[in-house]
């Protein structure tokens, strides 16, 4: 039963207020993209046993989508941040490094 802080309303929302939205920071590939790129965009997923970035919506709350950095093996939460970004902000990455030195996720570390 996770608790994640919604970065928009500041509420520490428990899981039943939230709706999970899968992997974060996917780059949309539309018409004109290669089959590989489009496949990866829709289906290829990081599925790490460890640090993971994902999307959540504060569905039974302020309704906003946000991102969370979470460890899938321990459920430790490194931080949450707004969805209007294409990559994890530095403070989040630093927070992860402090807890998981040497972590990597896609091109991020």
């Amino acid at each position: 039963m996770l608790i994640l802080q919604c970065p928009y309303c500041g509420i520490d929302a428990e899981e039943t207020e939230l709706a999970p939205g899968g992997e974060a920071h996917l780059k949309r590939h539309g018409p004109g993209s290669s089959d590989e790129d489009f496949h990866d965009y829709l289906f290829a997923r990081e599925n790490p046993r460890g640090v993971h970035f994902e999307r959540w919506r504060h569905a039974n709350g302020c309704g906003k989508w946000f991102h969370a950095a979470r460890d899938t093996a321990t459920l430790e939460v490194f931080g949450t941040y707004p969805a209007q970004t294409t990559e994890p902000p530095k403070e989040i990455r630093d927070a992860i490094t402090a807890r998981r030195p040497g972590w990597r996720w896609r091109e991020f570390s």
Binding site: Y8, E17, N60, C62, G63
Partner: protein, 193 residues
Amino acid sequence: MSDAVSALKGASFDGLVRVEECGLQGMITLRGDLSNRAVAKAATSVSGQKMPGQNRANVAGESGICWMSPDELLVLVPYSEAGAAVEKMTATLGKVHSLAVNVSDARAVFRLSGPAARDVLAKLCPVDLSPEAFGPGQFRRTRLAQVPAAFWMDDAETFRIVCFRSVAQYVFDLLKAAAHPAAAVGYHTSVGG
């Protein structure tokens, strides 16, 4: 409009606390950049209330402003004034990117009053309702059993709860069950109280 009726026509129940449907309440959803002066003016001018901060509500009787999200307010006005209020707000907003829409008929409002009000609501919402954590002036959107809802406190023993009109009966039945006279909890208030 004489033949306009609220979802439960003012139904009420007395148990651990008093549960009542508040009847018709004017409500306007206002979306926009809350730091924009026109947006603030649109909300304050029709409600006569100040702009609330994050997760807060300024409400007096049937008029008020509730903070719904970083770009959304719920503006309360008397039911009969909602239509005019929307027009006035739209005029005030002018060309500013925003959306003001009358949702008075889309919602139902309940009042939960009595010393045990916190205990009763805490049976249905995953929210810390202790006096230290929540009191008058604050506003919370959350889950009430299986439906979304929002509430604020008019005073230390009174909640007003807003939900969608279609589930008004469900919410009323939930509140009745939670307010069963023999179901006192005594967590936020001593059982005697």
